[in-house]
């Protein structure tokens, strides 16, 4: 891969390019082959990605997906821009509001706070992967029944979070809900309905 002439030789993953050449003994003009280079920095093996696009392979909703992405691309942007999985929303874009919540190896993460390259090798489940076909999951049905959505922009993130929360807390009380679902924000003010959803304990992830 050629150097991008417009890009300054900047540090990447805390390792400057000069260090990289010195340590690895490999000139950057050589094509980068499969996988990132490993270098030693501060006594640890560190993977160096880029500069420029690198191959990224993700497992999303059980499917293998791949794309050429710059290392700075977040999991959220990769899902939305490259794979058209737009259920997870970009709202705060810095790990606060929860609108981009997805499951990574079964745990909720803010997809805007995970780099796509760091999500490789993990099982990612998005809102699109919760339901099978057109049928809604019990949690989704409960969101409709309790009118726990208005504009709907925070809803996919909230449903992923609520699905995981109910797996962790099958019989939640009010305090569990206060703590367990406070990682997502809604602007229209649908929390009363979401609280009713959690208290109704819709069971199971299957549609």
């Amino acid at each position: 891969m050629k150097d991008d002439p417009t890009r300054k030789p900047e540090t990447t993953s805390g390792v400057s390019r000069r260090d990289f050449m010195k340590i690895s003994g490999v000139g950057v003009a050589l094509p980068l082959v499969l996988g990132p280079k490993m270098v030693e920095a501060a006594g640890e093996e560190v993977a160096v990605h880029g500069p420029g696009k690198v191959p990224v392979a993700l497992t999303v909703n059980g499917k293998k997906l791949s794309a050429q992405l710059e290392p700075r691309v977040t999991l959220l942007d990769a899902l939305r821009d490259n794979f058209d999985l737009t259920g997870a929303k970009r709202v705060c874009d810095r790990g606060v509001c929860g609108a981009c919540t997805v499951l990574m190896d079964g745990k909720t993460v803010y997809a805007c706070a995970v780099l796509a390259i760091d999500a490789q090798g993990k099982n990612i489940t998005t809102i699109e992967g919760l339901a099978k076909g057109d049928a809604l999951t019990p949690v989704m049905q409960a969101f409709v029944a309790h009118d726990a959505q208005q504009c709907g922009f925070c809803t996919p993130g909230f449903i992923v979070a609520t699905t995981h929360f109910l797996e962790q807390h099958p019989n939640p009380n009010a305090e569990d809900i206060r703590r367990g679902l406070s990682g997502n924000y809604c602007r229209c003010g649908t929390y009363n309905g979401i609280r009713a959803v959690a208290l109704a304990k819709p069971e199971g992830r299957a549609s």
Binding site: D4, T6, R7, E70, R72, V73, D77, R80, D81, D84, T86, G87, A88, K89, R90, V91, C92, D93, R94, V96, C97, A99, T126, I127, E128, A131, D134, L136, M140, Q141, F143, V144, A145, D147, Q149, Q150, C151, G152, F153, C154, T155, P156, I159, I177, R178, R179, L181, S182, N184, Y185, C186, R187, C188, G189, T190, Y191, N192, G193, I194, R195
Partner: protein
């Protein structure tokens, strides 16, 4: 012959019931596609370079490095050298590139030189001795007044008293009227005296003193006088879906835009003018919108830029969605509103006098004037407002413009007066309800219901919770009102010979339930199930319907839909009557059949009935307003009462809302479920602005310090407490017709919560948000003064 009235309660299969929103499943599954999600092949990412200074002049722009970058497809300078910039975050250059990373790099490669100018961002109390600005009204002054919804009579009075310093031509006047300026205001402009403008450097624009009755005498003879300082800081709209638009040119004459908007039918005219193409060549699309709250009526400069960038890139689609920091800094805020108030009552608790000196800022335009005193027409008044021009992104309509500020200034002053007179505020307010004009009866109905839901009599105590321990508990209340008459709306309803029904309307559903209520009205009128109706909205090629602002959508779309459905039903009856050996007026449409009212055994299933139409479908246009088809199906003027129960930790200053009660009228409720959700949502948004939200500006840099969502804090699920909503339904309410509900319930929470805190801790925390620091300061100095 046709009955356009709303049906009798006994014959409403769907209207006024509790129905789940029709677009619930598509939203819950994540399949709903918003403007932000528009992602066609070949989409170019647009980005904006924004001015980092609160006040500056552009000296030079060098975008050559960006233009040469690989992957950059278009660069467009939006404001040229020499232009004065009035707020940080204003748009300077736009770029389009193959992806967002490249566009970001291109923005960084553009060099702009600015001459930095002095800025002013403070909305602290204006100096005592500033004069009244009696200079002629400039075009900016006039447009600011209109943008800030200054009452028409005030605008007319100002034009008459001061003259104008610009010469509006016929086109300007016509455009003004087309964009909603009142015809009498337009006439005042047309006949205004022209005067050379004096430029004033002062950021303070002071209105003349408004006086009625004899306030001095009334204060002197009053039994009790209370003085206080109240208000609310600037907040932002903080829509979760940021503002944005995508444009593409399928031919070099035709433009297609996807835009996040509350004003689908009104976008093409605003896009056509700057681009110089016919509005008819522009198609505007939007299925779902992630929040607007009054901030999304215009395509904005960034939206126009997407069309310009797309054109320069050979017509390829270009999308710009604002980054969160830009959204918070420039894409809408609610003006601050503060006042020093003096209020008086006679020995029976009757309000006799009001005096206020109010101020606030809505950015360069100064902001609107809160309607003071709110709700209560106090006989003797003296008031004056000072609008402060500040170097920050302009105010946009924020749910119920000017009303939350007015409530937070008035209802607090009334509560303080009640405390001074050792009266229960519910009692004092009840004694003054005749001052509320046409809504007196509504409030009289609502107050006891709210009090019962809150257990007011059992839980209320005189000011200052005397119980032991640091946690103090208290109750507060507030009243509010809003107009909400239905906007202009056209609806095309088509019945196909196979029985399917299709409705087309160029409106938008902001999450209010607009789709749901249109479908309910049509299905209820035609006597068919909801899923028999295919509703098509969100495309400017459909019949024109108004912008969703000022709670006007529900009244508008339900009225046009009802008229279309009634006419369609009656035309169907005419086709079906011979087959049923009856007159059309003897038929009814119920339970998916068309049948003879007096003999239900003579009936046709809906599908069979529709087959009688013939080979071609039948399309009927319904309109609102429509004087030829009375009665008016919508109305104006609602009343609501809210109460709050809070606990305050007097050691930390942290406030927790235990319970909120809302009793709300909105005329005929079309869908109880989505109506209640709207009120619940407003209560929660109200808790959010009462306790947490504030647009904090740095006096040194002039920039917003919290343009994000970690320090611009919204209420979360842990912050809301118990919530009770009671909709006024039935006789006295249903027959008023449909009235919008988006604004009214968001007006009172700030005042109700502020009053509950005062009742708990015994002192007034002067202004919103009621943060721990302000609570502690009020406790320390007895509530007479606040500097934070």
């Amino acid at each position: 012959m046709s009955e356009y009235t709303w049906p009798d309660p006994a014959t409403r299969p769907l209207l006024g019931k509790r129905i789940s929103r029709v677009d619930g499943p598509v939203k819950a599954s994540g399949r709903a596609k918003y403007t932000y999600d528009y992602n066609p092949n070949g989409l170019l990412a647009g980005k904006i370079l924004r001015c980092p200074h609160a006040h500056a002049r552009i000296v030079s722009i060098d975008s050559s490095a960006a233009e040469k970058m690989a992957g950059v497809k278009a660069v467009k300078v939006l404001q040229t050298p020499g232009t004065e910039i009035f707020w940080a975050g204003d748009e300077v250059v736009a770029v389009a590139a193959v992806d967002e990373s490249t566009a970001e790099d291109a923005i960084r490669a553009i060099k702009v030189q600015y001459e930095v100018l002095p800025h002013f961002v403070s909305d602290a109390e204006p100096p005592k001795n500033i004069g009244v600005n009696n200079g002629p009204i400039s075009r900016d002054d006039f447009e600011d007044m209109e943008d800030n919804q200054v009452p028409d009579e005030q605008v007319i009075a100002a034009i008459k008293a001061n003259g104008i310093s610009f010469k509006p031509d016929d086109k300007y006047l016509k455009d003004a009227q087309a964009s909603g300026v009142d015809p009498q205001v337009v006439e005042a402009l047309r006949s205004a005296k022209y005067a050379e403008g004096k430029t004033s450097r002062s950021p303070y624009k002071k209105t003349a003193v408004q006086k009625q009755g004899d306030p001095d005498k009334a204060f002197t003879s009053a039994a009790a006088v209370s003085e206080g300082f109240y208000g609310a800081s600037c907040i932002t709209h903080c829509c979760l879906e940021t503002h944005g638009m995508a444009s593409e040119w399928p031919t070099d004459k035709d433009l297609v835009v996807h835009v996040s908007t509350q004003n689908l039918s009104g976008i093409a005219p605003q896009v056509s003018e700057p681009l110089g193409i016919p509005a008819g060549n522009i198609q505007v699309l939007q299925q779902y919108i992630g929040g607007g709250f009054g901030s999304k009526f215009s395509p904005d400069r960034w939206g126009i830029a997407t069309a310009q960038l797309s054109k320069a890139a050979g017509g390829k689609p270009v999308k710009i969605m604002l980054e969160r920091d830009a959204e918070q800094e420039v894409a809408g805020m609610r003006p601050s509103g503060f006042a020093r108030v003096k209020i008086a009552a006679d020995k029976d608790g009757k309000l006799v006098a009001w005096e206020s000196r109010s101020w606030g800022t809505g950015g360069m335009g100064g902001g609107g004037t809160p309607p003071l005193p709110y709700i209560f027409e106090i006989p003797n008044q003296r008031k004056q407002h000072i609008a402060i021009s500040t170097n920050q992104g302009s105010a946009r309509a924020w749910r119920a413009p000017n009303h939350p500020q007015a409530a937070v200034i008035t209802m607090t002053a009334i509560e303080d007066l009640a405390a001074k007179m050792n009266m229960d505020p519910v009692d004092l307010i009840t004694r003054n309800l005749e001052l509320t004009g046409p809504r007196e009866k509504i409030y009289r109905d609502e107050l006891p219901i709210a009090a019962e839901l809150m257990e007011w009599k059992k839980k209320w105590h005189p000011r200052g919770d005397k119980s032991a321990g640091p946690i103090k508990r208290g109750l507060g209340l507030s009243l509010h009102t809003w107009g909400g008459r239905g906007h202009n709306s056209d609806c095309d309803l088509t019945i196909h010979p196979d029985g399917s029904v299709e409705i087309k309307m160029a409106t938008q559903d902001l999450g209010t339930g607009c789709r749901t209520i249109i479908t309910i009205v049509a299905a209820d009128t035609l006597g068919i199930p909801l899923d028999n109706i295919k509703l098509l909205i969100g495309d400017s090629r459909y019949p024109v319907s108004g912008a969703s602002g000022g709670s006007t959508t529900s009244g508008g779309v339900t009225s046009s839909t009802r008229r279309a459905a009634v006419d369609a039903r009656d035309q169907l009856f005419a086709k079906v009557a011979p087959a049923l050996k009856a007159q059309p007026k003897e038929l009814e449409a119920v339970n998916a059949t068309v049948r003879v009212k007096s003999d239900p055994s003579r009936s046709l299933r809906w599908k069979e009935a529709c087959a009688k139409i013939g080979a071609m479908p039948m399309t009927i246009r319904g309109k609102n307003p429509d004087k030829s088809k009375p009665p008016d199906l919508t109305n104006s003027g609602v009343g609501g009462v809210q109460m709050a129960d809070v606990s305050v930790d007097t050691e930390t200053g942290i406030v927790r809302v235990n319970k909120m009660v809302a009793v709300q009228d909105c005329g005929l409720v079309v869908d109880v479920k989505t109506a209640e959700s709207q009120v619940l949502g407003a209560l929660i948004m109200g808790i959010s602005y009462a306790l947490y939200e504030e647009k904090i500006l740095d006096p040194v840099s002039g920039r917003m310090l919290n343009p994000n969502m970690e320090f611009y804090r919204l209420a979360g699920i842990a912050d809301i407490g118990e919530m009770k909503v009671h909709m006024m339904i039935g006789k006295g309410y249903d027959e008023r017709g449909v009235i919008g509900l988006a604004e009214p319930p968001v007006i009172s929470p700030g005042a109700a919560i502020s009053n509950a805190i005062a009742n708990a801790i015994g002192v007034r925390v002067p202004f919103l948000p009621l943060t721990p620091a302000r609570v502690l300061e009020a406790l320390e100095n007895g509530g007479t003064h606040a500097t934070v």
